[in-house]
Symmetry: C2
Subunit: 331 residues, 2 copies
Amino acid sequence: MKIIVDAMGGDYAPEVVVNGAVAAAKEYGIEIILVGNEPVVASLLKKAKYDAGGISVCHAEEVIGMSEPAAASVRKKRNSSIVVGMELVKEGKGDAFFSAGNTGAVVCAATLSLRMLPGVERPGIAIVTPTLKGISLIIDVGANIDPKPMQLLQYAIMADAYCRYILNMHDPTVGLLNIGEEDTKGTDFVKEVHELFESGSFNFIGNVEGKDLFSGKCDIIVCDGFVGNVALKVSESLAEAMQEFLKRHILSNPLGKIGALLLRQSFSRFKKDIDYSEYGGAPLLGIDGVVIIGHGRSNAKAIKNAVRVAKEEVERKFNEKILEAIRPKVV
Amino acid sequence: MKIIVDAMGGDYAPEVVVNGAVAAAKEYGIEIILVGNEPVVASLLKKAKYDAGGISVCHAEEVIGMSEPAAASVRKKRNSSIVVGMELVKEGKGDAFFSAGNTGAVVCAATLSLRMLPGVERPGIAIVTPTLKGISLIIDVGANIDPKPMQLLQYAIMADAYCRYILNMHDPTVGLLNIGEEDTKGTDFVKEVHELFESGSFNFIGNVEGKDLFSGKCDIIVCDGFVGNVALKVSESLAEAMQEFLKRHILSNPLGKIGALLLRQSFSRFKKDIDYSEYGGAPLLGIDGVVIIGHGRSNAKAIKNAVRVAKEEVERKFNEKILEAIRPKVV
């Protein structure tokens, strides 16, 4: 198996991407092609003292920056690591593509190069989040900010398959993110989605609210990409702010440092609970190919785990499961 | 000054509402009319041993439940505490109305009874949240889930006035909640709002993201009521989940209890940082009258603080400030 990794994507690229790729190659015994500036990446590989083989470098002259406009940069920068990497998958030279770079550009390049699975209109980004009862999957967190109701139905079907075949859940429950639980709540758009979901092939439990994102009320939460993106970023921001608030009070407390020392193990387990890098990457579902998107701030562990997520999707032939699930309902 | 308080609204009503009202009457020296089931409220007042005068009871036969459909229940239950209380304000028998009950019903009753301020099309709920740099105001968190762009402009103008005249901020900054900072980001709706904001009379700093809700990047964050409601409830849910995660790890750690004891003061200050009850109630801006909405789970302290918020709006003649600000721009 060969995973194509965008060496230039992410706030700490290329160094941490190279280190993450090295860790993944060692731990999972798979081949990796790092796409990016060849001399730079090669010297980082040398620095990482990796010589067990299995990692090669494919040169890409350009880089799409984190805040460049997605569609325009994908069209213009045909030699960027994202476009070159995606083309490698298209040509069958790799089984999956991972990038922690410009999310919009990855979505755009994936759609243009690899196209959609038959029966799926638009790709959706699914994110695994920790809850009080385990984990849940939120789709979409930003690929499709102005979707049609039918596209949310497709997201629910794909997320259901993801939970079954990748996250090993039994009969996952699906909730529709809304401002209240009652069927009559929400915008016309959400009401229309609710009606579609009622005839869905998955275990639909009805509307859920923002407060259910971390309560573990259901396994899958479906929303449009605008709301999902805001919800995700609000969560990250609050998690950081809360840690900062706590730190301030601990440091200003004379007994704080001793207390914190005694609680060191608890704090580190707590941090692990809410650490996105444990979950690695977010699958871009609906693409005719395996594409995983990483957090811009991915560290080497997140990169390694994202490669694992890609590997699992390839191994379990996940897109075939989507096709099986989506054909009878949508086509 | 007379504040009308819905004695029957909120998850812990009527007891905690009565206790909160008693605390407010004592601390702020204002008159309060509790609206609700007279015998029940009177006996709770007796139980609270409050006999200093200043609190009276107005009987209301009915109660609108927390999850009843808003518009229908306001139309049908003309003798509910929400409708009766709002009518008292309309008739000039009270200066402001507060309820921790069914938010939709309060918004609906306020709009029907008190009507909108001239130049404002729809009311918006503004919430004060803690940030790493102080506090910020988010509007709208659920009154108007499918707004027109012009209505978001009105929210920005009203929030600007609220920050200046109630929260005592100097030249508050306004951000538009979006999925990216660049002007070109977002749905057509958000782009249209962005254009309107650029010619606004307030200090518009451009788009902000979900991550800026708690970073303190700007003083005011404007969004539609659907997104704002989800963001608010996600935050509450995550804050609770994080406390629970931390508690679990502390309790499972042999040294955890000692550490937690040493950190007791830090934890309690931390809890205060993120405790909504410190901020009390959320003003329903745009109504021709003062209406404050409380969290369903309001405790007595939150009720007391909400009454304070109402008092400040009345004292500072806040609606006149809105009219001054909104007239030249919108009418």
